[in-house]
Symmetry: C2
Subunit: 153 residues, 2 copies
Amino acid sequence: MPFRSHMDVALAEARAAAARGEVPVGAALISPEGQVVARAGNRTRERSDPTAHAEVLVIREACAAAGSERLTGHDLYVTLEPCAMCAAAIAAARIRRVYYGASDPKSGGVAHGACVFSHPQAHHAPEVYEGISAEPAETLLKAFFAARRSGDS
Amino acid sequence: MPFRSHMDVALAEARAAAARGEVPVGAALISPEGQVVARAGNRTRERSDPTAHAEVLVIREACAAAGSERLTGHDLYVTLEPCAMCAAAIAAARIRRVYYGASDPKSGGVAHGACVFSHPQAHHAPEVYEGISAEPAETLLKAFFAARRSGDS
């Protein structure tokens, strides 16, 4: 069962990303004991790093803290459907479950396009639950892109 | 036309990775002017970072140096077919051409499985050239995995 409070952490990170001028996506990584071991929002602009998506940032942070390339038994909460890069990173890290908010037909790589977990090359497929707190996640994204189109950011 | 000397840089990085006990894959990123702007081999073990593939490392380094999320006009040489994570990072960075060595039916995400560049969600598809110096790249990988199976590493 997804924990709304964990997705609330991811949503808070998405809002913080928007405030920094980043695409508002946030993530939280949860230990097998239910603790938030890493939380992050996108930082691709700030760091000039196209790989600095929220999911990659929490995976890197948690792996560094654990001293391991694998996060067996950990769950990831993220406000938007992961792209192919993040999906493959999730598989490589052996994350147990992925809970995501908004669907991403344009850039998603889980339920769209590359469908990364659907191929044996992924080596590991987490359980995936979509639509968790999707509405606030979508609202944040729509407001961000509407503002960008109108030249506010 | 691929430059063997650029792939030789990538192969040298793959050999250095093997010497560190890492899966021997190397990459070199080439500027539009033909300069090697970043070179790296896998460091997933050393850094406890499942995203520290050679391709991601050179993209992150070159983007940081350029102060940009995009490497328009840059070419990537890598000794092995990129996985889905690296392929999506390559697309995000808008890399112009990818030259790779060995094919990777087991974990590849360019010509196998997710076929990341084949979906509109990738937003950018580089030109892809495979089989460049494939033989020495494969030899390195086979020797590494044979040694690992026999308990040498």
